[in-house]
């Protein structure tokens, strides 16, 4: 971090103070961090495309104000990469940060970690981190095959889930091969978003997992030549599937939400999501009918975790840690998992909670809930993603 004292005088000095405080607090106890956090403002940069998420964050803001005297401001983003670019520019210009906490995972995390734009490690110091289910939910420590190394605190779980109107589709395809059969029977009624849309890439990854001959390759870094050989069955599969898709696979929707809308309008038969509870949530909000069903592929489906991270130039690092810890508390996690609120699955291990805390989590099924949850397949190593995106674009992009 370049010194800004000479150029910006007092403003630079004021901006640096919390930076040094951030250093000091690694030795301090959690109580000291909470004491420092009091009165600070946390600018939480978080994607705001969901009214449910926004309402949940508004609740969290009220709670941290009452409990810790912290002001939590939700900085609404349309795309998390925006916050990454902003922090990069600020650090380059030697300015104090405008973001204190970022909702993040995957590529955005990789970039920030690699460019050393993140504060930490801090997650081990969070008292509630001990409750996280790091054994059965390994993705809470490994983000797209990249170790989190304490630079981001787990917040919620995600797993590729399909959904449809059960009145129109009574036997859902529980594997990529069954999906091909369905597409043959119902030509033009199945589609998926074009990569590099996050969900589109995940759909292709799921097909990769189900077609690849040697799954042991997936968690490892891969080069172009090995990738081409390993993905030959994948592109055979996609070549076979595409002629039966919407618009004969020559056009694809540009985003997951568009597929959901096409399902709601009756144009396609199936939607896909990374939040297993989204279909139930959409039923609750009236977007989808009560006959909606949701499922995960029989052999398991791609899953990951989303996190919160603190930028290296954040001005309220103490308060940001207190907020991250609060977001991990059983109460906050249970409320987040509630279908009526958001329906985002918890990262906690319910066995580590006391009975009262466990009682906060309701397990009642609702219309649109996943009937038989399947096991989580971790994301392939990060080096696969750009290769998948480029190869898909080359095969089907123009």
């Amino acid at each position: 971090m370049p010194l800004t004292l000479t150029r910006r005088g007092f403003a630079g000095l004021a901006a640096l103070t919390p930076f040094f405080m951030g250093r000091a607090q690694a030795d301090g106890s959690w109580a000291e961090i909470e004491a420092q956090a009091k009165g600070q403002t946390v600018y939480f940069n978080a994607w705001a495309g969901s009214p449910q998420v926004n309402a949940y964050l508004a609740w969290a803001a009220e709670e941290v104000k009452a409990r810790f005297g912290i002001t939590l401001e939700h900085v609404k983003l349309a795309d998390t990469a925006e916050a990454v670019r902003r922090v990069r520019d600020e650090v380059k210009a030697g300015k104090a940060g405008s973001a204190d906490l970022i909702w993040i995972n995957g590529q955005n995390f990789h970039v920030m970690k690699e460019e050393q734009l993140l504060f930490g490690p801090f997650t081990e110091e969070l008292p509630n981190f001990a409750l996280v289910d790091v054994d059965d939910k390994p993705t809470t420590l490994v983000d797209f095959a990249e170790g989190t190394e304490g630079l981001e605190s787990p917040w919620g779980m995600a797993q590729l889930t399909f959904f449809a109107d059960g009145a129109k589709l009574d036997t859902p395809p529980m594997s990529m091969m069954e999906l091909l059969d369905l597409a043959r029977d119902e030509p033009g009624r199945i589609t998926y978003p074009a990569p590099p849309d996050f969900h589109g890439t995940t759909f292709v990854k799921q097909a990769l997992v189900e077609t690849i001959e040697d799954r042991a390759l997936l968690p490892m870094a891969i080069d172009k030549a090995a990738f081409t050989a390993a993905t030959a069955p994948l592109f055979d599969y996609l070549d076979t599937l595409h002629p039966y898709l919407w618009r004969e696979g020559k056009q694809f929707p540009q985003a997951q939400a568009q597929v959901t809308q096409m399902l709601a309008d009756g144009e396609v038969l199936m939607g896909l999501t990374f939040n297993p509870n989204e279909p139930a949530n959409l039923v609750d909000g009236g977007t989808l009918p009560a006959t909606t069903i949701a499922w995960q592929n029989r052999g398991g489906s791609i899953g990951n975790t989303h996190f919160v991270a603190i930028p290296v130039n954040a001005q309220s690092k103490a308060a940001a840690q207190v907020v991250a810890n609060f977001l991990l508390s059983p109460e906050a996690q249970a409320r987040k998992a509630d279908l009526k609120v958001w329906g985002d699955p918890t990262v906690l291990d319910l066995d580590k909670l006391n009975p009262a805390q466990r009682g906060l989590f309701s397990r009642a099924k609702q219309p649109g809930s996943v009937q038989k949850p399947a096991r989580t397949i971790p994301e392939p190593h990060g080096s696969w993603v750009p290769l998948i995106e480029a190869a898909w674009l080359e095969h089907y992009g123009a």
């Binding site: 495309g49 349309a78 670019r85 210009a93 033009g188 939400a257 709601a264 992009g397």
Partner: protein, 532 residues
């Protein structure tokens, strides 16, 4: 006077803009960025698609505009035309795209009416590989803008008087109304529409939000490819996006240069046509009425559809009305930050018009090409690039996260639009009126205030309304410059719309269209000549 008159525009608008553009220069010299950009498999087809949708939509909008003006000129429907144009202009592009999409898409209203059945037909009526749906929607959406610009020219105090006299003279020479319009009204109209047409073309070839809703995806338009690249978290991909931006800008400049060349070549042929003797060509009243009513019907249907979509959580095929209505989406709009947006936009529009007028009053007309050229560059480049440059410029100055920075960020696109829209009518003003006032011993200021200002009222008000509408829709610059410290209406709307919830998007789009609609209607009413 000469320098101080140019100072506000130079300091508050041109300088920050030029410096922001300079921040983009390193990308132009980045070999790796160019290699990545040129290797993109979608580059060539995407560029072709951008240019074709821009060119065809502009020509189509121009043809419709001339037809409507020719048919309705000096008719009783003329003022209704203004109101129609104002209403159409106020509907945000994204809202229009969503509403238009819901009319024509396979599960849309037209298919429900004409086809029915349980399953929607498999039409390629949106997201077609040729970009036809996008092109048609662009033409229809830009028609009100061209009409507003055209009506502003033809209704301007001095010009209206001159045209009335010349039309009378032409009629007495035996020209029928259609011939009179073609030979007397059309030439100055086309000359005045030159810059608005350039805006329409540049907008159509670079639009992102409409292309995402209606345009194809394999390949998409180049603007969409660029948008994805500039949105990326990795700096290398951003740089490739900037390289593609420069490429698209160069291609647009080339098209405009060719158009200017063709325009010059056809002038002589036009001259021969225009000076031909009396002709019985009638005004295309019937055709214009049909076209006008059709455009009105589309606009009305689009608006109706957006209202219904904002109230319907679900509207599955093939029912003609949503099964249930609720106000959930509108409840989210209610607490949106409206006041900051209104104040900012009023301030930006007022400042832009004042700066433009100061410029036109104190600078020689030949200098206009520099500011208008700069304005066009500002409008042609994607906002992620220009506003991104401005953000990096403002950051070391401590302007990010401040109201002053937010105001300047809004002023950049607003002043660009106002300059381009105002240049034609302002420069074409008949200076003899002011000369006469000065001869009657009026001071320079009072001659301007009491003679020129009232005569230029219509174009000034309409430029201010356009500036206001442009300002209230700004998302990218506002989002970047505020760094989360302030919130405006479009920031709330666009971030929510990123989740793809259609009722919410529709409700916010409608909320965003109300303030400009009021502004355009006010400009239309206040801008009417007093003697009518």
């Amino acid at each position: 006077m000469k320098y101080s008159g140019a100072a506000p525009l130079a300091l508050l608008w041109a300088l920050p803009l030029l410096l922001a553009l300079a921040m983009l220069l390193p990308a132009a010299l980045d070999g790796e960025a160019w290699r990545m950009a040129l290797a993109h498999p979608q580059l060539r087809p995407a560029l072709a698609l951008s240019l074709s949708s821009g060119i065809v939509s502009t020509l189509l909008a121009l043809a419709l505009c001339v037809l409507l003006l020719a048919g309705l000129y000096r008719s009783r429907a003329w003022h209704r035309l203004q109101a129609l144009a104002a209403a159409g202009l106020a509907v945000p592009h994204l809202a229009f795209a969503i509403g238009f999409g819901f009319l024509v898409m396979p599960s849309g209203l037209i298919a429900r009416l004409l086809v029915g059945g349980d399953v929607p037909p498999q039409w390629a009526s949106v997201q077609d590989p040729w970009g036809a749906a996008l092109t048609l929607a662009l033409a229809l959406k830009e028609l009100p803008f061209l009409l507003t610009a055209g009506v502003a020219v033809l209704s301007r105090g001095d010009e209206a008087l001159r045209l009335r006299q010349e039309c009378r003279a032409a009629a007495s020479l035996g020209h029928a109304p259609g011939s009179t319009f073609l030979r007397v009204v059309l030439p100055p109209l086309l000359a005045a529409l030159r810059w608005p047409l350039v805006i329409v073309f540049v907008y159509g070839a670079t639009v992102v939000d409409m292309a995402l809703v209606l345009g194809p995806a394999q390949p998409p338009t180049l603007a969409v490819v660029i948008w994805h690249a500039l949105n990326h978290a990795e700096a290398a991909v951003n740089a490739a996006g900037l390289a593609m931006t420069l490429l698209l800008t160069a291609a647009l400049a080339l098209v405009l240069a060719v158009a200017a060349l063709l325009g010059g070549r056809t002038r002589r042929a036009m001259h021969r046509l225009l000076t031909a003797g009396p002709s019985p060509l009638q005004a295309p009243r019937g055709l214009a009425a049909v076209t006008g009513l059709a455009a009105l019907a589309v606009l009305g249907l689009v608006l109706l559809v957006i209202v219904l979509l904002s109230l319907a959580p679900r509207w599955p095929y093939p029912v003609l009305l949503p099964p249930a209505f609720d106000l959930t989406a509108w409840m989210r709009v209610a607490p949106a930050p409206l006041w900051l947006s209104l104040l900012l936009s009023a301030a930006a529009a007022t400042a832009a018009v004042a700066m433009a007028v100061l410029w036109f009053e104190t600078q020689a007309p030949r200098r206009d090409r520099w500011v208008i050229g700069l304005a066009l560059v500002a409008l042609a480049l994607p906002q992620l690039a220009t506003a991104g440059g401005q953000y990096r410029l403002f950051l070391p100055w401590g302007l990010t996260g401040t109201l002053a920075g937010l105001f300047l960020a809004h002023l950049t696109p607003v002043a660009a639009y106002v300059l381009i829209v105002l240049a034609g009518p302002y420069r074409a003003f008949d200076g003899r009126y002011v000369a006469a006032a000065r001869a009657l011993a009026a001071t320079r200021l009072s001659a301007w205030r009491r003679v020129k200002l009232p005569l230029l009222k219509a174009p000034l008000l309409s430029a201010a309304a356009i500036g206001f509408a442009v300002s209230i829709a700004q998302f990218v610059p506002a989002q970047l410059i505020t760094a989360g410290r302030f919130s405006t209406l479009p920031m709330e709307a666009v971030t929510l719309a990123s989740g793809g919830n259609r009722p919410l998007t529709a409700a916010f789009a409608l909320a965003l269209s109300l303030p400009p609609m009021v502004a355009f209607l006010a400009a239309t009413l206040l801008g009417r000549p007093r003697w009518r």
